[in-house]
Symmetry: C2
């Protein structure tokens, strides 16, 4: 027996404070229906900003603001193609995370 309380014991095993914060920040990005809908749209195929805006029936500005957040979190990537900017899903983590969430919601 160490004499430590359960709260203390568990506290000692908690991961780094900053990493937990980053993790919460990541999930926060998934936690908005506009951004989720953007990700689902990009699930199908890469698209320009205006294509996404049309697909979600939202203004170009609103979409652009959210794309910036998605890009900062490295959930999407972007490349220029003439006047347009083409956005696409960054990697497979995005798909996996969304799929897991999907399972939880649809069961």
């Amino acid at each position: 027996m160490t004499g430590q309380s359960k709260g203390q014991e568990v506290k000692d095993q908690m991961p780094d404070e900053n990493l937990l914060y980053d993790l919460a920040e990541l999930f926060k990005v998934f936690g908005d229906s506009t951004r989720i809908r953007i990700l689902f749209a990009l699930f199908e195929s890469e698209m320009s900003v205006s294509d996404i805006a049309e697909s979600l029936q939202m203004t170009q500005s609103a979409i652009s603001h959210q794309l910036r957040i998605l890009k900062q979190s490295k959930l999407v990537g972007a490349r220029r193609e003439g006047k347009q900017i083409i956005y696409s899903l960054a990697d497979d983590h995005v798909r996996t995370i969304i799929n897991q969430g999907w399972d939880h919601v649809t069961e």
Copy 2:
């Protein structure tokens, strides 16, 4: 050629609006550092409210408010044990979702 724009094509394949909303709501729950820390604490073992509060160095009230949200989303379960209420992780989806997020953040 159908004459449909790309935005329209993708829109036609989007999942149900309400499900996407629920999915965003789910991730929103993970998207707060207090709740993430609670989940990590429960990762180790089930605990009472006051144990969690001590472990996270937060007030009982703040923890209780957040536990309610976690319970509503079915991410944690609770059972009474005397005066205490013992909370625990609901199922393995929670672990999987967090692990995937963890991979994205730590790589």
